[in-house]
Symmetry: C3
Subunit: 427 residues, 3 copies
């Protein structure tokens, strides 16, 4: 009974059209052109490399897409067990009609050619969106993105701010900021004004969030402008600044971002817990890991200081999920957001989803975002999440509390889509 | 088969009369008088506030109980998914015969009136106790509680010591201690004597535990009396003491408590991991959170120094549960105690219960305490626990190891009640 | 359906012959002689002590094996619920034909005598190996073990290096090293040469791994030889060295071990997270616990520096498992290894197994090792693991992804045995 119930709920959840509230889609090249765009996703290059494929082989410059795929396919056998590989099979089956049990050295080439033919259709992007039931896709935009040449009501801009908070000591980042805002950065007041100007630009173009990923040891605090003005002057004049001063600057800029989120009524997406460049010889985008010893207590001052800013929070380690549940239960401005990266496999999602759904207001959990770089990944990733959500709805609510299936599905709809609309606003 | 087995075990577990070994019941007003006492429980005010209800609306002075309920009810819709809300429905159904699917703006008033009528019966307290099958209820008493005017063999006193350990630097706390013990506190020897006097008083009135909640960074250590005598003199003479000295005093007092627990043969309930006043604008009792980065290794010296003191331990974060399992497996004086606060929802309870029941001696796990402020909450909270316990007994023991149902229920009885009697003593 | 599927997969997994890649077997006395060898396993003495049996009673010198068992048996009643006790029942039933429901004060003596009779058969060791389907058993050898007098192709040597890394400041350890290598240790160059000599000796005798257990706060780093040469001179001349210098020496030796693992192509087994002698009055081998606040980020430099060394990693706390999954997913040289000690009970194993099997290449997870001291424990411990593995294979792969049972069993075989052969090499 439980199995057919889950299946029924899953089928209904699959039919809901989606909004994907966090992706890395390039709106000028949203869909894939060949299988290399699919298999080049860092989840596959990382795992193939982890299993033994050398980085040089995958990342050799100038190899053709087909050659790249041919080098990756032999390694797929070692990752057939992974959830990540299951996404790949779903894509091949749903979009290209692949019938095989596995993608192998024997059958990949025919699939490659077939996929390329399908993907070369002028309306491929629209086909994918339609088949995936995607109503809206949120982007991740560099602060100096002009946000031009695409439909911002469909591909919704978000201001990504890692560079501003963590790399402003680099001349090239300051240079980009100057160009983007067409303004000198001689003083910290200039810096403050230029940050505000970015918010004006993004808001005018329909941005619906400010976002940032944060290392495990980051701890936001208010820094008086006077405490960074001298170091800023030295910085822009090319003098050396200390590591402590750089931390102070990071905190200053971060706090300014929060202030602007308040003024411009933008949610501030915090993605907490990543250490960059841990594995130095890793493949492209496959070098980041973490120190699980981080706590939301580090954000206490921030949550208290900005009660009117919504903070949708993603945590990198499932270890952090109970804190997220507890903080979302107590702080009105803390929202549990999706299942991120190393926590985006079924055992972690299920545990985290179940504990959120049974402890925090149903309006404060944004179920899922795909984090995808290419449109084809929304379908399998959301499907994975919907399957888990269907299971939790069946067990906890329909069987556990005798809810009607309709009521359970309404909850599912809220978690999958309703909360996205409410929290990020209907663009 | 598994489902009907679980149901059978659950029904049997439900029939066991209980001892509730940790509550915040006021023995002079143990039962609720109106639905406001139920809905005013911080679990509901916190969640409603988290979902958007402003603190000022709930905490407006002088509003009537009925007005208070009317302001909370509209927000219940947002928390229907939570386990906490499920307790509320259980109370309304079991005690007041509520038949609705949910408590809503449409049906609350009739329920309010009906509940008020039932609760005004002179024997309401006895009705609740009987219906909940409560044989004994442990209290949490301030150190200066006279412990008079109630039946201490039913409402069992426990000496709560947070103020002594963490707030003795405040003149008003020292004043309360002076009054309670009728003794000057001029020297640290006086302090030591007055602490002992509290234990004499509580023991004479049948107290069965000393209890304290502890912040994540607390680390007990023996402090020679000489190390605090000078600071104590300055403190009582109104001079300033440093933060380091206050920590030293906390450790000194904590260690004295442990010494007295040994002398008076009282278990020392440690509730580890809470940071107070994290969310400063939170509702009453809804401001506390935690830093999950805490370890039982911090209690190494304590557990080694007091082998004859039993330490029933509650951990705030499920992350800490495996350490509790391991420490209870190794240290004879460490006991796993209940499922506390932010870990008191089904997914955490189940995980923690299952891992305890399969790894530590069955005599060293006190299954559950309600932590309730009003008597009506024992029934739904223990029911939640019993349902989970029934599931674990069914899966791990009856199905997994071919135990008879009788044997599984004996284990259940031990966890639910037998260990309370053995560990806290039969008052 | 799911239950009979699991049973079918379990039966097939049970039929696979094993290699046990980590044990503490003494190859000169591999099997038990009496029930005291079984019940004397620290898992039982710890739990009985934890439940109330005093250490002095178990560890009284000169008591006979039978007397020892007679003192432990009455305490078994308190641990009947544990997974550890379930191993004991399996041993008694499978090896000695025990028919009782439990091992009690009433039936133990007959079992003791029966077991003793069986164990006194001259081929008992071979009987156990055959019944347990053990094809090969890896050892844990002190660095000064001569490795003589046993068949090293069956009982495979491993170089255990805790003493070298953490106890070289003790004269007796340096003395043992001098004797083992027949070489003076006057300079740090001598030390380096003597370490290399140990690897030559172990390699020549067919060793397949270097292994070490590490405290939670250890963080490997390269230490230039010049930084320890002066302290080494003082150390060997009996002068005092500081705690900081000792840490430096630990790091120096650890790094040398890694270098030699590279040269001699040996995997370096890291068992991360144990604090020794936490409970000072604990029974033999029952004094160790941990601080769960440890992170694999501490090993970042090591993993980057030795890409050609395989690091099979065991973590003591299940909290650390997600980091292990993530690091094994990114670093080609990081391998998830077994389920260690306090994480070796079913709820932790299942969670850790499921999350590994669904996220990292199937070639990078060594399913299980017994950690046993006596041969009889491989059977029940591997059975516990196989039961869990069968469940995960059934749920995630056969039911969840429609794999054939054959394909699921192939994956099971790889995890149970194939990866041991590939990673540690076919001795």
């Amino acid at each position: 009974m439980s199995d057919s119930l889950k299946m029924r709920l899953f089928d209904e959840l699959e039919a809901f059209p989606l909004i994907d509230p966090h992706t890395h889609i390039n709106p000028h090249a949203a869909a894939s052109k060949t299988l290399a765009d699919i298999l080049g996703y860092h989840y596959y290059t990382e795992l193939a490399h982890s299993a033994g494929l050398s980085r040089e082989v995958i990342e050799e410059p100038e190899i053709s897409p087909k050659e790249k795929v041919s080098r990756l396919v032999p390694w797929l056998e070692t990752i057939q067990n992974t959830a990540q590989y299951a996404w790949l099979l779903d894509i091949c089956r749903d979009f290209f009609g692949f019938q095989g049990e596995h993608l192998t050295t024997h059958n990949w080439e025919a699939l490659y050619d077939l996929a390329e033919a399908k993907m070369s259709a002028p309306d491929w992007e629209q086909q994918v969106l339609r088949q995936s039931r995607l109503d809206q896709v949120y982007l991740t935009n560099d602060f100096d993105d002009r946000l031009e040449g695409f439909d911002t009501s469909f591909y919704v801009p978000c201001l990504r701010t890692d560079d501003l908070v963590f790399h402003l000591a680099k001349p090239e980042v300051r240079q980009r900021l100057q160009v983007a805002t067409n303004r000198e950065l001689g003083t910290v007041e200039d810096l403050r004004a230029s940050i505000r100007q970015l918010f004006e630009h993004f808001s005018a173009r329909g941005a619906r969030a400010c976002a940032i990923s944060l290392p495990p040891d980051f701890s936001p605090a208010e820094v008086p402008e006077g405490d960074v003005s001298a170091m800023w002057l030295r910085l822009v004049h090319g003098a050396a600044v200390s590591a402590e001063e750089t931390v102070l600057l990071s905190r200053y800029v971060f706090w300014e971002l929060a202030r602007n989120c308040e003024e411009f009524q933008l949610p501030f997406d915090l993605m907490i817990g990543v250490n960059r460049r841990v594995y130095l010889a890793g493949v492209f985008q496959g070098q980041d890991l973490y120190d699980r010893r981080t706590s939301l207590i580090q954000y206490q001052a921030l949550f208290n200081a900005f009660p009117r800013v919504k903070f949708p929070i993603s945590v990198l380690a499932s270890n952090s999920n109970q804190e997220l549940v507890s903080y979302a239960w107590i702080f009105p401005n803390v929202i549990a957001n999706g299942h991120w990266w190393y926590s985006n496999t079924p055992p972690y999602i299920e545990h985290d989803c179940r504990s959120r759904l049974t402890a925090i207001p149903k309006t404060k959990y944004v179920g899922y975002y795909s984090d995808m770089y290419k449109l084809e990944f929304a379908l399998p990733k959301f499907r994975m999440y919907r399957r888990i959500l269907a299971g939790v709805l069946a067990e906890e609510f329909v069987l556990g509390r005798k809810w009607s299936e309709t009521a359970a599905l309404e909850l599912g709809h809220l978690i999958l889509r309703g909360n996205v609309e409410t929290i990020f606003g209907n663009a």
